[in-house]
Every structure is written in structure tokens, then in C-alpha cells.
Symmetry: C2
DNA sequence: GAAAGTAACTAACGCGCGTTAATCAAGAGG
DNA sequence: CCTCTTGATTAACGCGCGTTAGTTACTTTC
């Protein structure tokens, strides 16, 4: 158990005071340090292999240099989310550049309050990003009143918290419109998640809006709720098929769920896009690798992460961004899974 | 900026000393506290909404109650890893039960040393789990000498660090053997990653071993290295096809990579399993949803996480586990992608 | 009834660092 | 020669908590 090296050790070796060591290593400009003294300190620190203790530093400076990513979902759903790595990857990339750490937490519906309070009051983190928030999250209100900077990845209407999101409604509308332009009029909708998740309800709104603008009837029997994963997509599609309702296309608000839809349709002997056209959402890497390749709404998890981090950084600096929310672009990518109604393979 | 609530505030309100507050809230059994006093303290804490400051606590107790998950890979590879969420999900589940936090970091080859030192010496975390370690990681040696508990998710031969892994070699051997039993003798191998990653080299060894036991020639022109993602699987398969070498089956050491292989074969007009049989590795959720469903070696990311955490916990408690490494079971799942050689669809 | 406990609690130190106010040397100005 | 700056450095306090070594008050023991 080698004795831990403190800044006092560095100070002793360099023949200066601990204060000087602190000034040098933190590049404190307000106090002038003679270059050769600074060099002596740096050499001593290097020689001893000194690394400032994170806890002590956090305690003294009131900054943990760590931000939190909070996922509003249970682990079993997290485990099969192909989009999470993109978010995580993007975030970790910018964080490392800025020498900050990332604490990952999840909260299950019903326990949000306690988790948020613990995280913020205990000051484990300097700021937090809340992923896939739920409309019915009672903790949101609590967070609005806390001092800690918060960025929502996803939009909560009426919340005073800053947020980063894509325009889910418009994007979904575009996707459904694409199907309408291909001549489809009986278009089913399978959501990406339960409706308390804002992205789910917004995408559903976009679906409705597109139908309305095209003067197509909205049939609630064609709308089904999936639950993040492929299994749910599979089961919901089975039910849709069993319901006997006719449809020639499905807007699936999540590529991941769409994979389950593919599987169920295949099992039912239906061909994509010959019998059913599909448009997904997210453009996960897989979308261009499966057969048939999946038409989908592309959005960049990487950009969402970076923008969230940028916004959070400004909040942590105490700045007040002019606008409450950042909306990122999406674009429709048409691939093989969507085709004009009635046309057979060429 | 409401004043932060400290244990002193709780003590004042309860009419006791700060020490008593600490004893009560930490359930310190060594000192006897009168039940009604304890109750008074708890009531005061609740009333004030007191949460002990994490940094102060860490500094005083020398425990951060946080463990680190270190991923030896660059963010762009992390972003498309379908296996990461499983690991993360499992880990987060057990961590929450034990009221511990999770700090996620990545290191890129070449910078491991600095990152490990910083993380351990700065005492950001109580212990760490190192995911997908590389044989050529110079930091491993450093970690062996550090005091902080470390668990490798993946095996490094000759290392004195504890590890949790599946028996990659045996599992790969089983997979290849399955192909051999189906009558295949020209079996290509596409690795899951570059060979410095131990899982990649071990799976390749399993492939070689299976061939050897079956007295089949090892042809290094049939072995290609992929790089975690689908793109690499796609490109490598293209090259394999372009090389003109004959083969009737491919062992792909990663389901994710196999998806790229699927795509390339499809593009070349080859049918799976009619023309080429495929066996993958990992059993990602998608494996049973794509067409044809993918035969693969199943392993549980969840279990790997849980076992890693359990092992790490014991190390953090100062225990010395009898064995250096934990090996978890795998099992081959045969689905549609592998079939007897020469047989056409039924 | 003094010595020896025992239960219940507290004063005070230390964890390692950031930071303010103070100190000291050295030169500038008169 | 003495004051006044300026530049370079340090003593000392505080961050909020865990924890040891007490200190009380209240029994028990012979």
C-alpha cells in the first residue's frame, strides 16, 4: 500500500509551497509564477507521478468535472437499444476532448424523483442530460426548480428545461407523406414506444397530421403501440394482421421495432415492399444492410449528443441560451422497403 | 441559490451533534444510538431534504461508491456496437441494487496508460472493469501494479488481473465443428476484430483447432479480419469473394459483422444457406429476426456483466478469489443460416 | 460508597485540495 | 534613506464528511 502522493509531496520536492503547486498545475493566470519555478513544479509532479485527487478537488472547487446521462428506461429495454451506442459514442467523444467524465444512470418510471434529487443534491455531477424523457415523469418538475443544469434529449411540452431534439412530428409527417405519394391510403402506424414517451406521441401526431392533410381517414385500429424492441414490433404486427384490417403500408416509428415487423410479415408470407411498404425511423446502421433495405427517417445520434453537450456546457457556464430548445434536422432516406402501391418487383 | 444543506443543519434541527447524525444515517452499528434519537435525526434529514455530499463523503471515507467501465475502443466503433447495451444494461441493473454509480470511459489504443493512471490515481473510482482489452495494451502491466481492483472483460494470457470471459476458443471450435459436421470442408473465417483484441485471436484459434481436429487444411487465404462493424464485414466479404477462393461456409466471429457478410453475399447473388452457410457469434437480439435467421454461438452479455461486477465487488472488499478468472458458458444455436452442404431449400 | 463498568453522545482531527489575504524581497521614485 | 509599487510566494482557512478518542451521566458490583 504505497502512500498516496499529494500536492504537498510535490511542493516539498520542488521546494515551494502547496499553493504554488496548485497555481502552476491549474494554470492560474491571476497570479504570476516565475517560469523556472513553474517548470520545477511540473518536473516534480511528473517525477512523482502526481494526480490530483478528484474528490478533494471536487469538494474544494465545487465542480466534479463529470456530467450525468440519465436514461428513463429499465435495463431490459436498454439492453436491446441499437441507438444508445450512438448517443454514448458521441457524448464520450466530446467529453474526452473537454476532459470531463460521464456518469450513466437509469431511472425506472416511478422512482425518478428520488434519483434526480440524490444525483443533484449529492452533487455527484455538474450537469445532466436526460434521455428519452416521459411526459408523465414527476421528476421533471423537480428538476426545473433545481440549480443543476439540465438538458433534455427529447422535448417535453411546457417544460422550462432546455432541450435538444429532432422535429419528430414533421419528420413523421414526411415519412407518412412519402407513403401517401406512393399511392398508399391504408397506412398502419406502429409507434416506437408507449405514448408517455414524447418521441412516440409526437411521431404519432405526425402520422395523423399527414393523413389529415391528404384527406385520408384516421383509423385508430391501424395504430399500435410497440415498446422499443424487436419483440414488441413482432407481436404488435401479429396482432395487426390478426385484426383483419387492410393496409398496404406501415409507418414504423423505430427501425429497431421495424425489424420485428419485418420478421412478422415474412412469417405471414407477405413480401416487402410488394405487399406492404415500410418506412422506419432512426436510420440505425443496420437499415442499409438488411433485406430489403429499409426506407427511414435519418437522424444523427452523434449530433444530438454533441448539441446536448454544447447546450449543457453553456448552461454550466451560467450562460442563458437565447432559445430554449435546439431542433436538429432529419431527412427521409428512401430505400427498397417502400414502393408504389400495387407495383410488383421489377 | 439556496444554501446547501449539510449534516450540521440536520444536527442542529435534531438537537444532536454532527457525529450522531453521521452514525444514524450510515447505520453505524458499533455505536449504540437510542432509537428515539435516531428517529429524530431521520425526521430532521427528511424534513430538510438532506443528501450527503458525494465528494466530501468520498474524501473522508476514501470510497467513491462508483466503478468505472473502460472501453478499449474509439467512439466510432462504440457507436455501432449492438452488444454494448447488453453489457451496460446488466451492469447498471446490479449497480443500482448496490447503490453504486457507473463512470464510463473509453481509451484509444496508444493512450491507455495515461487514462488508467489518471483514473486510478485520481481515485475517481473504487474499481474498474476493462472491456474488450487488447493484447498490446501497455497499460495492462501498469494496472497489475496498481492497488485499485480491476476486472478484465476478456482474457489476457499471462496477466495477473482477474477476468471474466467465455471460452472463446472452445466456442469457436464448436461453431466450426458444426459446419464441418454439415459436410463443409472449405470454411472461411472472418474475425470479429483486429487480432490484438484477445477475443478475435482466440476465436481464430478455435477455428484453426476445429479444422485441425478434422484433418482439414488451414488456408490462410480464407481468413480475413473484420473490425467490429457491419461495414467491415461487408468489405471483407467482398474481398473474400474477389479473391476467387472457393468456400461453402463462413464462420463469422461476430453477429454484427455477419450482417455485413449477409449483405455482401446477397449482393453477389449467393443464397444463404443454399450457397453459403454462416455461423455467427454473440447471439445479438437481431440474430433470430433477420432472414435467414442466424446460427450463432450464444453468450449472455447480462451474465458477463453480473459476474464481472460480482468479482469486482469481492476484490473491492479485499477478498482474494480462489481462481483468477471466471469462464461463462456458451451454446450453439442452430438456425436457418447453416445447412448441410449441397442441399437445396426444402 | 468508591471503583468499575456501560450506554449515549460529542469535540476535534484529518481527508486533499482551492483560494484569499497576507508576507516578503526587490527595485522605482523622491 | 525611506516610502511605494510590483512581482513572487506562502500561511491559513474552508469545503462537508467519517471517525477516533474522549466525556458525561447513569448503573452495577463488592
Amino acid at each position: 500500500m504505497g502512500k498516496r502522493i499529494t500536492s504537498q509531496d510535490v511542493a516539498d520536492l520542488a521546494g515551494v509551497s502547496r499553493t504554488t503547486v496548485s497555481f502552476v498545475l491549474n494554470n492560474e493566470q491571476r497570479f504570476s509564477i516565475r517560469p523556472e519555478t513553474a517548470e520545477k513544479v511540473r518536473a516534480a509532479a511528473k517525477q512523482l507521478g502526481y494526480y490530483p485527487n478528484a474528490s478533494a478537488r471536487a469538494l474544494a472547487s465545487n465542480q466534479t468535472k463529470t456530467i450525468g446521462l440519465i436514461i428513463s428506461r429499465a435495463p431490459q429495454y436498454i439492453a436491446s437499444d441499437p441507438f444508445l451506442p450512438q448517443i454514448l459514442g458521441g457524448l464520450m467523444e466530446v467529453l474526452k476532448q473537454n476532459r470531463q467524465g460521464l456518469l450513466v444512470e437509469w431511472v425506472e418510471p416511478g422512482q425518478q424523483l428520488e434519483t434526480y434529487l440524490e444525483l443533484t443534491r449529492a452533487h455527484h455531477i455538474d450537469g445532466m442530460i436526460l434521455m428519452t424523457p416521459r411526459l408523465d415523469d414527476p421528476g421533471i418538475k423537480e428538476l426545473e426548480e433545481t440549480e443543476i443544469p439540465v438538458v433534455l434529449m427529447g422535448y417535453i411540452p411546457g417544460s422550462s428545461l432546455h432541450s435538444v431534439d429532432v422535429d419528430n412530428l414533421a419528420a413523421a409527417e414526411t415519412a407518412v407523406n412519402h407513403l401517401i405519394e406512393l399511392g398508399h391510403s391504408r397506412i398502419a402506424c406502429i409507434t416506437n414506444a408507449a405514448l408517455p414517451y414524447t418521441s412516440a406521441s409526437q411521431r404519432l401526431e405526425g402520422y395523423k397530421s399527414a393523413l389529415k392533410k391528404a384527406n385520408l381517414d384516421y383509423d385508430e385500429n391501424l395504430v399500435w403501440e410497440a415498446d422499443f424492441d424487436m419483440q414488441s414490433g413482432y407481436h404488435v404486427t401479429k396482432e395487426l394482421l390478426a385484426s383483419g384490417r387492410e393496409f398496404t403500408a406501415i409507418f414504423v416509428a423505430s427501425d429497431n421495432v421495424a425489424l420485428g415487423v419485418y420478421s412478422a410479415l415474412r412469417e405471414a408470407g407477405l413480401k416487402i415492399p410488394d405487399d406492404v411498404s415500410i418506412v422506419g425511423f432512426d436510420d440505425i446502421p443496420l437499415a442499409s444492410f438488411i433485406s430489403p433495405t429499409l426506407s427511414t427517417v435519418a437522424l444523427s445520434g452523434h449530433d444530438i449528443s454533441v448539441e446536448s453537450y454544447n447546450l449543457l456546457t453553456r448552461l454550466m457556464r451560467g450562460e442563458v441560451p437565447e432559445s430554449l430548445s435546439v431542433t436538429l434536422p432529419t431527412h427521409l432516406i428512401t430505400r427498397q422497403s417502400s414502393r408504389e402501391i400495387g407495383r410488383r418487383a421489377t
